[in-house]
Amino acid sequence: MSAALKRREVVAQLLAGRGDLLVVAGLGSTAWDCTAAGDHPLTFPLWGAMGQAATIGLGLALAQPKRRVLVITGDGEMLMGLGSLATIGVQRPANLSVVVIDNERYGETGMQATHTASGVDLAAVARACGFRNASTLTREGEIAALLAAVHGAPGPNFATVKVVAEKIPIVLPPRDGGLLKARFRRALLGAAADTQ
């Protein structure tokens, strides 16, 4: 199956009109995708900790039960933290969605195939782990329903979006981890966060 969806367009759609959404972006291409959609203080783009995007989303979702939390990450990053799907399935935060932008490649290291290229089904794993909703999207027309779920459906929600394996320009977010942390907390918690 050759994918038709373009990653930048999918992520731009997911973040358009983001409202109160809190976003964690997995390292590499999904961090660039989120930045291309517009650098935002309430997006926490990762430059490391491969495999931990979903658990950062979990900690955030548990701490902020009244806000919607969206993790946007890649297939390679998700595969490195498969156990986190089981951990999320046990906690079942209703406000958390995990979306995997799946190009079936390690995009930053030479486009080597990930396990999803051989048929490993991440949505099936998420479903088996207890996610309330889990699906694999391949068509443009399916994105609107995903967006609605991210903003409103009781989660945890999971979606794999199959996208074209393409090399596209990198759009870098700020690199300073301390800055990214502080600006996120200030935007979410107010200036008082600086002295907490």
Partner: protein
Amino acid sequence: MAAEPQAAYDWPLELHRLLAASRVRQVGYVPDAGHKRLIELCHADRSMRAVPLTTEEEGIGLAAGAWLGGERCALLMQSSGVGNIINALGTVKECRFPLPMLVTMRGEYGEFNPWQVPMGQATPAVLEAMGVVVQPVREAADIPAALDAALRLAYNSYVAVAVLISQRVIGIKSFQEQAAQ
């Protein structure tokens, strides 16, 4: 007689009290026999969420996410689990996330399992190499004060702090004893 446990003092009760008093709201853990009572106390406390993990590394993400969301998170693990968090600790250091960790030691004082010894012996050095402040404790009576200091250091100075609780305190001497816990 090499590894008599120091059983009488209910230090896990004190640790739980300190975590609650410090407004720790999330406690991530991979079970260890030495943390059995503290894990139970955290699960029973409605003011905190005890989160079982499949691997200690998930705890680093959990704690980072909690802090981004304005909550405090502490981690409980065995020394073998320290080996599972090394790369993720780089994110803690780069972002200056506050991170108190309570580590029960294996491979250290009277260990019976040779496979535990390499990671147990490497634990302080590995943590220090990744910028974690290491506070070893060898007496049960000293553990609460060490956690209190670790919580203050972590949250006042935005650093990772590991309290290493000696196997001398836990006192596991044989596989049979461990299985009976």
